[in-house]
Symmetry: C2
Subunit: 103 residues, 2 copies
DNA sequence: CCATAAGTTCGATGGATGTCGTACAATCAA
DNA sequence: TTGATTGTACGACATCCATCGAACTTATGG
């Protein structure tokens, strides 16, 4: 079964803020924004287990921050920038324009 | 002893996002922004116990979102808008411009 | 068909979090 | 001084959360 993505109108501010309040997840979003190309989950090189990464990606997806699509054996992840900009104008830019933190 | 307020440069994005990710705390910040006048802690009328309110105000204060100053028997709370705007430009406006949610 | 690679699922675990009630401290008014 | 008002401190408790390892699924490539 395909994973669930909330509709744009269903994206909740508190869920987005909570998703972005974890340093690992914020760094994921930061890199997705820089690349502007869908990216495989395993290409982030964090010192975390696979199951923990799955947990973080699920948190971001269920909050409506990212989109995940299966592509063969991998899973491409992309930022839902248009949806986020439409729903919370300026939020993503404000968050991403702050200085990165080491993770 | 006076409660601790982080210096502007010490305010961390993850702490701010976490503080704002709770609906009650977000509503507190929303009202502080509308009033633009320092406000007593007890004037928010939430259906929460006093100790829970203390907890939320402490979370906001330690994240650097609000300032608390004793004034007689009450405690005036104000938004640290200048500090937040300087440290994370546009963040507070983006958060506050989204539609309020019932609490 | 088999092995490998990429993620998910499923407990488990230690720590944080939101909530409460009761007791306490500080200030002001009578 | 006594009482009322405001808020804090301290446990307690149920839940959530970030993390892990091990077992599983799904697709790809010999």
């Amino acid at each position: 079964m395909e994973p669930h993505h909330p509709d744009r109108s269903e994206i909740e501010l508190s869920a987005v803020l909570h998703a972005l309040s974890d340093p690992h997840r914020l760094e994921i979003v930061r890199r997705l924004d820089q690349d502007s190309e869908p990216r495989a989950c395993g290409t982030f090189g964090f010192d975390l287990s696979k199951s923990t990464m799955t947990h973080h990606f699920r948190t971001l997806r269920e909050a409506g921050v990212i989109r995940q699509e299966r592509e063969g054996t991998t899973k491409l992840t992309s930022l839902r920038r248009e949806d986020l900009d439409a729903r919370f104008p300026g939020l993503l830019d404000a968050v991403l324009s702050s200085e990165p933190v080491a993770v």
